[in-house]
Every structure is written in C-alpha cells, then in structure tokens.
C-alpha cells in the first residue's frame, strides 16, 4: 500500500496544472481521443460498469449501473449534471480537483456524457468556491476553444455543451434532486422518488447526476483500464452477496486535530489509523484522539478505539456509522467535549434542513434547542433519550423523510450519545447538579402563560 502512487492527484502540484496546456503535456485528453476513435458509448458504459466504480459523492451507488437506468433509445435530450455542490462538513476533495486539475474532471465528464448520450451537461458548483469557479470556467472556455466541447467534438460527430452553474450556498443542493430543482430555478426541495432522475430529472427529462471525483475516476478508468481499477481497493465481502466491493483510489480529506491536514489519495480500504498516522502525521501536538468522523459529519462518529475501521464503502457501517460518505475524516482530540461536537453538528443540520418534511424540519430544530439547553447547564438525563428518539425516527431509512439529509442529521446524534453516553451523563450531572434527574413534563399552564 505504501508504494501506491497517486493517480487522481498526480498532477496537482505541477506548474499551471489547471491550464489546458499543462494538462495536455501530462497526456490529457488522449483518453478522450481514444474513446472517440475506438469506442462506442456502450463500450464506455460496459468499461465503467466492469470497473466496479461506485459514486464518490457519498451514497456509493455503482456508477455504471446508474447509467444503465436511463431509458433505452430515448428520443430527446438526456441531461448530465455534475454535482460539485460539495458541502459536507470536512470535505474538500472536489475542490482540489476543480482548482488544481479541472481538465481531468472535464475529460471524465465528456466521456461520461458520451457514454450516456447526453448532449447537455450542467456543472453545479457550490457558491463558496470562488477559485474553483474561476478555474473551472477558464478550463471550460479553453475546451470550447480547443474543440473538446461544443459541436462535433474532435470530428467525432458528438456534440456536448457544458454549462457551469453556481449555486447559492445551500447544503441541500448536494442532494441530487435538490440540485435538479435548484438548477431549474426552483427552491431546492428534494423530489419524491420514484421517479428517479434517470427516468425523469432535470426539466422532466432523463438525467444523470455524478460527483466530480467520480468523473475524474471515469477518466482514469478509460486511460488505465478496468482491471487496473479493480486491482486497487477492497474485494467484495464473500459473505455479503449485495456488496459490490470498493475499488479504486479515493481522495480522503483529513482535517481536525492532526498535524498535517489535507487531501490524500489512497486505495479504498485504508484504515482511519493509517490515514492519521501515515498521511496526517499523527494527532495534533501529540495529543490523544477521542473520536473521528469517518466520511463527513452525516456519517456519524467513530471512537478512538474504532480507528481500525477500514475506510471503504462497507467499513464504517460495521462500526455503527452510516457509511463511507465522502471519505472526509475529521479528528477530534481529547480536549473537545462531545457536547460541543454534538452542538456543532445539530447547528449545521438545523440550519441546512430544507424544511420540506415535518420530521426533519422540526426534529433538527428541536434537537438543537435541546442541545442548547444542555450546553446552558439546564440539561436533564431524559433529554438524551429524547434526542436518541428523534435521531432514530428521522430519515429515509425509517421512511419518515423524502431525502437523506435527516439520516445525516441523525447519525452523529445517535453515535455521539450512544458511544459517549458516560461523558454526556457526567456533563449533565456536573452542569446541572440539582435538575439533571428531572423527568416531569413541562407544566402546560406555563406554556399557555407564555402569550
């Protein structure tokens, strides 16, 4: 593993790596030319399917399979959306790609669009990435000039228009149907599924939504073949017939209390410990780690004892977390109270809940108010159970919401309280010595009196 050479990030430190001139000098767009020369759309689809590539945006859905959900021989436009609304706390892998190697993403996108017969692609970028925005737009302009985008690309007869769309800074736009709604100029309220975007997406037409890193992986698979891709990562669990395996390199974002935070490329299946020690230079100032989030905050929390958790698509699930998510690891050291951690998480999800479904809208807001109360020294033991009850009942897994935002809000609550219950109880007893045992409901008269 140690000798693994970065592929996706191979060129990011080179001079002017974001320009077309530099990208072509590294052999860029050769793969695209080969695709147009030798391959049919179906060949590319089969190649990606065979590589076992799973979406890098968070859910880990097999990319090739997603493409095959498009209606066959569809007469009419198929749209392609690149999801660059990278808002998951702790995540910045797409940003590195867009800022330092935008052409790698664009090449992957053109290939993906060719494979899915899309002739219009939208690049939905979050608002808060001004440099990425500038470089992406410059790269798109260069591509139009060089004939990689536009009509009849490289004489292949295939045409593609790519539009860069800047979001307005909302986490929910990273949810694929929220993204589509926002793209259409509407409020980013995720749609009810079915129909899935592949059947009816942007502008009511079949639509594929893929992540930035996924597009970059497609480019690498075309260049190096699916066998190369399958040689990296974790094989499917033989005991679980539904596990498609976790292949390929992954960009891990390491931040929080580590010596060298950053975005590191490693084969899927790296453990949290390896990431912290081999790449991050250990925990900050030689302190002890207390916890880490395995892949963006919505995936939950790992305790320091669980740092042997492999970061592949199946790994964090075995440790009580939601999944790999975006592969963004945030390390929390021993000086941080878990109450503060939970407060931060609740604040984020209360702020970002789109407000469509009652359980998420009210659940996230109620949870934040309860954690605020705990932080103010008025918490009671029963609040912990109530928080857990909220967390256990919101999300698409219990079926009470339309999209997965609520699951993401629930997981850190569940994990933090269940895995650090003693610490929470100790905090309540210390900050609210007289009232922590209180169990009575709020007297109803006082509430009426509030008017």
């Amino acid at each position: 593993m140690a000798e693994f050479q970065p592929v996706l990030l191979a060129n990011i430190d080179k001079d002017d790596s974001h320009t077309l001139r530099a990208y072509e000098s590294f052999g860029g767009y050769a793969g695209l030319k080969r695709v147009f020369g030798e391959m049919s759309a179906n060949d590319v689809k089969e190649l990606v399917k065979g590589s076992g590539l799973r979406g890098r945006g968070g859910a880990g859905f097999p990319t090739g399979l997603k493409w095959t959900f498009l209606p066959k021989d569809y007469q009419g436009p198929i749209y392609f959306c690149c999801n660059a609304d990278e808002s998951e706390p702790g995540t910045f892998n797409n940003r590195i790609l867009m800022e330092e190697d935008p052409h790698q993403v664009i090449e992957g996108l053109i290939i993906s669009c060719f494979a899915t017969a899309s002739t219009t692609a939208y690049f939905y970028m979050r608002y808060e990435y001004p440099l990425a925005w500038k470089r992406m737009q410059a790269a798109i302009d260069e591509c139009y000039e060089a004939g990689y985008l536009g009509k009849d690309i490289l004489g292949s007869g295939y045409s593609l228009d790519l539009y860069l769309h800047r979001g307005a800074a909302a986490y929910i736009c990273g949810e694929e149907t929220g993204l589509i709604e926002s793209l259409e100029g509407k409020r980013a309220w995720p749609r009810i599924k079915p129909p899935f975007p592949a059947v009816e997406g942007a502008f009511r037409k079949p639509t594929v939504v893929n992540n930035v890193e996924t597009a970059a992986c497609v480019k690498q698979i075309v260049d190096r073949g699916s066998d190369w891709f399958r040689s990296i990562g974790v094989q499917p669990d033989p005991d679980n017939p539904r596990d498609p395996g976790s292949f390929g390199p992954k960009l891990y974002c390491l931040s929080g209390h580590v010596e060298k935070p950053g975005c590191y490329e490693a084969p899927l299946g790296l453990t949290v410990n390896e990431l912290i020690e081999n790449y991050g230079g250990g925990v900050w100032k030689g302190r002890k780690a207390k916890a880490a989030i395995p892949g963006g905050i919505s995936m939950g929390v790992l305790t320091a004892d669980e740092f042997d958790c492999p970061l592949d698509f199946a790994g964090p699930g075995k440790y009580g977390c939601l999944g790999l998510g975006t592969g963004a690891v945030v390390v929390v050291d021993e000086t941080v109270p878990m109450v503060d951690f939970l407060h931060n998480s609740c604040q984020f999800f209360e702020h970002e809940s789109c407000g469509q479904c009652t359980p998420c809208r009210e659940g996230t807001s109620w949870a934040l108010k309860m954690v605020n109360r705990i932080k103010a020294g008025k918490g009671r033991l029963k609040d912990l159970d109530l928080l857990l009850e909220i967390a256990d009942n919101i999300g698409i897994i219990p079926g009470t919401t339309i999209c997965g935002l609520a699951d993401g809000a629930a997981w850190p609550m569940k994990n933090a309280i269940r895995k650090f219950r003693d610490e929470f109880e100790e905090y309540l007893k210390r900050t609210n010595p007289n009232g922590y045992m209180e169990t009575d409901p709020v007297p109803i008269l006082e509430i009426i009196g509030a008017h």
Partner: protein, 537 residues
C-alpha cells in the same frame, strides 16, 4: 380490476381508476390522516402524516412481503397486489411523532383561532397525538400579516403543508404565494407589492388544514361549531358551483365549496363566496304592498293569494316574466298557474345578466359571464309549456304594439336590472305584479309589490350552463314578512299543505321532456340532462 389489501380487507379497484394509499384505505373506512395531500393538488408527500406500511402480495402464492420502512400513503399507488397497513404500531408511532413535531412551535391558541373545531391539527392531535408535551419550549405567539384583501396569515400556526402555495400555482395560476426562508424558519409569504389577489383566493382558506390562513370576511364572526351547514348551489353565475351555506339562527356567515367532480371540483370563486351579502342587506324589501289611492298599503300574506287570484282571473291577457334566478319548480308553478288562467299567457324569460366574458383558470375552473344560476332551467320550462322562448328584449319590443291586462314580473337580481324606460313601458298595465328583493323603478310603478326570496332561502333546482341539474333545500328562513316564491305559487295553485319542491319537481319530470332524465333520481353531484337530449335527437 385490481385488488388491494388494506388492513386485511380486500378493496376492489376498477380499471382506469388511480387511487393512492389514502384513497384506497378510505374505501374500507380506514381514515389515514394527512395535511399536505389534497386530491385536487400535486403530491409533495412532505407532511409525513399519512405514513403507512406497505408491501406486496404475490398473486400466485398469496405470500405478503412488506417493505421495512414506512411510506407516505399519498405517494404510494394502489395497484393490484398492493398491501397497506394503516394501524400498526409503527404507523401509530409515526403519527404521534409528526403530531408532536407539528405542535412544537405551534402557538396552541385554539381559543382565539377561527379554525378551532374544524382544524386537522386539533382533530388529529386528539386521535393520534401524545397526551403530554415533551418539548419544553415556549411556543410563539402568532404573528399575523395580510396576504391580500381576502386572506390573513397567522404565521406561526402554519404547518408548512404548502397546499396554498400549490393552489396558487396549479389552480388559480397566479402563483402569488411562496415559501420564504429555510428549515424551521420557513414561512408562507407573498412578494412585496404582489399580494394574494386573484378571483379564487378564498379557496386557500378552505385548503389550509390549520388556522394559518384566515378569511378576512369571516374572521372572528362566528365559532364554527355554532354553525349548521346546508348543501346548496351558488347563484352567482351559470357555472352553478356546489356549495355549502353555513348559518347560525338564520344568519349566513360563509359559503364554502362542496366537492363536485362534474362542476367545480373542490373550488369556488371569490365572487360567489362573498356574494351572499344581499341576503342580509338592510335595503331588502320585506312587506307585500298594494297600490292604493294614497300610495301603497300593506297586505296580509294570508289574504294575498285569494286577492291576487281574483284579480288575475279577471284579466284576459296575461304575461309573466320568469327570472333566471327562480328555481325550476318556482318557474314551473308560476307558469302553470298563469297558463291556467290564460291559456295563451305569454311566458317571458327575464333579463339574463351578462358581465364581461367567461374567465377560465389553469385548472379549467371557469367563472361565467352569465350572472344567474338557472337560465337553462327557466328557458326549458318556458319552451316546454309555450313551445317558444320570448326574451326580455322581445317582450319589451312587443309592449310597443301589444297590451296586457296583467303582467307578473319576477326579479331576485343582486344588481340593478330595470330602469325608468322599463317602468314607463309597463306602468300602463292595469295589474302589474312585481316580485323582487330590492326596490327598483319597476317596483315603484307596480300594482302589487311582493318581496322575494334569495338563493339561500329557496327550495328547488337550478340547471347550469352545461345542462346539469342540481337540487337543494333552503338554508335560512327569509326575513320576517317575506314568503318565498315557491310557497306563494303553491298556494295560488291551491296545493295542499306547505310547498314541497320535490312534489313539484316530480310533476315537472312528468310534464316536460327536457327534465325526464331526472325523474326519481337523486344525486349529490346533480344530474346531467343532456343525456335525455341526446336520446331525443
């Protein structure tokens, strides 16, 4: 034919019928609570109150496989083999959760809320909610702001079902309403300077499952549990929307639309909704009077039928003007009565008020330019009895060279419908009986002034522009001094007892071929009389 299993009971769904979980459950009497879903609007599945368990029954083995998670009933189609469970422990817990969530920031100001008594949040809370409040947060007081001339928003009562927003986009089409802010800070609002201002705006109040949207006309006028609701038909235009008249002690407080898939779906226009004020107008005429040598003198209702009968029987040439505001039964009785006196009595269709042009909305709902409920019905009574239709204008023309011994004019219009020239033309008639709700130039030259009833006081049937006949009964009694047209004509015809519109209608269906399709049929959505016309041609 598809078979759906709801709580163990089989529901048969005929081909072509598209039902969701809520509708399928209703077929076996299982009430699935819901806020955001409405049969007339798009499905958003966001309130999550209608969560149920679902699964599929294998057609061959009969084995049932259930989905592990809950699904919204509104969004789940009922197809062959679909299984719904609406009463399981999981479903009950989910409903309690949504109720608890919705009440966290709800002001719970039911004692001063207009919706109390017909509020889904209230009803569902009693049925599905928790007994204790666990959210130790003080609710807000309810801020309010006007969305437009007709509707007030009580911001914090809102449960964000977005029915009103979807209505303004999909049904009325002006899209004035929107959601502002995000998450728990969301509110319904309008853009500055673009208030809720369309001719269907009042419907959002009916759609609101809670007390967030208040009807400014009805606000604080009456508690809903004091009111009685009567099925009726709107007399505002020839669409003839099915409505409910809600009254307490003979005072109308509001009109609401009544679902009728053939006429108005779930909606009614503001013109109709607020168009009942004339019922309680202080200017309404309420006493029958006879012109005497020193002006008008009051007549007793008890003596009136015989007096009128005697005077009319002494007249040779009689004409009667039948207003399109009369019901079919009233028009028929009066026409039959005068034809009994003068076989050649002229039957005239009263003026048909037309204002502007028909106005259609994206949903297909149309406000008709013809501002009367029963032109078709009265026309057919006239044609059925006299074989020819004489309009008000024809009649005015004929007055130039024909003279009549007696003319009976019926009115009942909300707006001015005759002028001095009409009065001049008819003032020379020896016996001019004018029956109307308001004084007018014609009224002032009448020999007999008879007060008339309004739509809420009548019994009978209207036939709308599309030949759909709808019957209804009175909702309020007329003001003291007024006898309804139906009752007066009943007595003129010397029928026994009190006016019975049903008995008259039975006679109409026997005598007039146009109405035969309705013979012996009663249907809450009315009867399509065109069926009969097709058979006749």
């Amino acid at each position: 034919m598809a078979t759906v299993l709801v709580d163990g009971q089989e529901v048969e769904i005929v081909d072509g019928e598209r039902l969701n979980g809520i509708q399928a459950a209703a077929r076996v009497g299982a009430d699935v609570p819901h806020y955001c879903w409405h049969a007339g609007l798009s499905v958003v599945a966001s309130c999550r109150m209608c969560l149920v368990e679902t699964g599929r029954r294998d057609a061959e083995t009969g084995d049932i496989t259930m989905l592990p998670k809950l699904v919204p009933g509104c969004q789940t189609p009922a197809t062959d083999g679909t299984v719904f469970v609406t009463k399981s422990e999981k479903v009950v817990a989910a409903r309690a959760m949504v109720e608890e969530d919705l009440l966290i920031r709800h002001p719970i100001d039911c004692p001063i809320c207009d919706k109390a008594g017909e509020c889904s949040l209230q009803d569902y809370h009693f049925e599905h909610g928790r007994e204790e409040r666990r959210a130790d947060l003080k609710p807000f007081t309810s801020r309010r702001r006007e969305l437009g001339d007709t509707v007030t928003l009580f911001v914090d009562r809102c449960v964000m079902c977005t029915r009103c927003v979807r209505f303004s986009r999909e049904i009325s089409g002006d899209a004035e309403l929107m959601v502002v802010n995000r998450g728990a800070h969301e509110e319904i609002d309008v853009f500055p300077d673009f208030p809720l201002d369309n001719k269907m705006s009042g419907n959002v109040v009916d759609l609101c499952p809670v007390g967030a949207l208040g009807d400014r006309d009805f606000l604080y006028k009456q508690r809903v549990w004091f009111m009685k609701s009567h099925d009726n038909v709107c007399a505002g235009c020839s669409t003839g929307c099915s409505i409910k008249v809600e009254e307490n002690q003979d005072k109308v407080y509001r009109l609401k639309p009544r679902e009728n898939p053939h006429v108005n779906q779930w909606w009614m226009c503001d013109e109709g909704r607020y168009g009942w004020k004339h019922v309680h107008d202080a200017a309404r005429v309420t006493l029958p009077r006879r012109a005497g040598s020193d002006g008008y003198e009051n007549v007793e209702w008890s003596a009136l039928p015989d007096e009128l009968d005697a005077q009319l029987c002494a007249s040779k040439r009689v004409a009667v003007v039948l207003s399109p505001h009369l019901t079919v039964e009233e028009a028929y009785q009066l026409a039959k009565y005068v034809r009994g006196i003068d076989e050649q009595a002229l039957l005239v269709l009263g003026p048909v008020p037309v204002e502007g042009e028909d106005e259609s909305f994206p949903s297909g709902f149309t406000i008709r330019a013809e501002k009367c409920p029963n032109r078709r019905g009265v026309e057919e009574v006239i044609v059925g009895l006299a074989k020819q239709l004489v309009t008000w204008d024809d009649f005015r023309g004929r007055l130039n060279d024909e003279s009549f011994d007696a003319v009976w004019v019926t009115g009942g219009y909300k707006t001015d419908w005759n002028d001095e020239s009409d009065a001049d033309k008819l003032s020379s008639v020896p016996l001019l009986i004018v029956q109307d709700t308001f004084a007018s130039p014609l009224w002032d030259v009448a020999t007999y002034q008879l007060p008339a009833a309004t739509f809420a006081e009548r019994d009978g049937s209207y036939v709308n522009y599309a030949d759909r006949l709808q019957s209804f009964e009175w909702a309020v009694r007329p003001p003291a001094g007024v006898t309804t047209e139906g009752q007066l004509y009943w007595r003129l015809l010397k029928s026994q007892g009190l006016y019975n519109s049903r008995a008259v209608f039975d006679e109409v269906t026997r005598e007039l071929v146009y109405f035969t399709a309705a013979a012996g049929v009663e249907c809450e959505f009315g009867i399509d009389l065109k069926v009969n016309q097709l058979a006749a041609t």
